[in-house]
Symmetry: C2
Subunit: 159 residues, 2 copies
DNA sequence: ACCAAACGTTGGTCGTCCGAACATTTGGGC
DNA sequence: GCCCAAATGTTCGGACGACCAACGTTTGGT
């Protein structure tokens, strides 16, 4: 959206789907800028955060928990492993698996990303009062829940 | 997000930026499905709607009005012109320009897309009451306005 | 022992957004 | 009238998130 100008509002501009995707664009841009200032992108944060929250795990399990597709997981882990933010070790008890774990440097990076993320939330919601922010997140949560339910959420098999 | 499972909620899942981008993903998916069932995608609708609303115009002007990048405009028009939904004619008064106009078939396609779009809005907002839908769109509009203002909106030069 | 299932990996697709570069044409200032 | 800055259309390419198909290896249950 390089140049939305020519003032006259287009007639789709009041559609909820438009409002959502466009504000999401702004949100994504803000977050991406914050992350890239530390040399990262969304998948990096999600993976690091998942690792810290649930501990070391196989790539497949990490994919399920973080919502990152297995095939993207490979590239993401490669990128993080190159920067020594994450470690990939073979699972001795199952030779199909790699066990991914967070390094101290990875933890530090995660702290940086979280700081960026927090700042972005504020910039994103700047024009809203605390009560309005609350109502917005509540409404969005309901929407997200609803659609996540209908878009299959298989369940963790075991372990 | 093929498989968000493993129930335990990740800690970023309550962040406004996450809620926004994810619900926007669902919205986008719904709309894209609706559009693709008629063989179109977002840019097609935006271009057709812009043409109907503002009348025939040059590609650059259409880009400004629809928020589609000039370089994407080329491909979009190509695709629509191939299907005879749009016509590309040289501007006799300015040989740099093409004048793009909507064909009757294009108008019919636009009607189809609008129908799809309307259905999507309802599916998207299904879990919300009319009042809640109202409040959501109001909050999102405020956010979008705010960020659009800060992200340059140059103005239409003339004509 | 067999087979279905899980795992990691490779190599794509798609849509939206965006930038750089280029040739052509134009209009305004001088 | 001339010149230059600006607008126009076009091509190419990249980032990012989301996704899919296929393959070889390894596994666990039967």
């Amino acid at each position: 959206m390089e140049n939305p100008s020519e003032k006259t509002p287009a007639r789709w501009e009041s559609l909820p789907s438009w409002l959502l995707t466009q504000t999401a664009n702004h949100a994504h841009r803000l977050v991406a800028e914050g992350f890239s200032s530390v040399g990262a992108r969304g998948y990096h944060y999600r993976l690091l955060a998942t690792l810290e929250q649930f501990g070391p795990a196989s790539q497949a399990a990490l994919g399920r928990r973080s919502g990152i597709h297995v095939s993207d997981m490979v590239a993401t882990i490669n990128e993080l492993a190159d920067r020594k933010l994450v470690e990939r070790a073979p699972d001795p008890s199952d030779r199909r698996r790699n066990i991914i774990s967070l390094t101290p440097a990875g933890k530090r990076q995660l702290r940086r990303l979280e700081k960026q993320l927090a700042e972005c939330q504020d910039e994103l919601l700047a024009p809203l009062s605390p009560e309005e922010r609350q109502r917005l997140t509540e409404l969005l949560s309901r929407l997200l829940d609803h659609h996540n339910r209908r878009t299959g959420t298989p369940e963790e098999p075991w372990r």
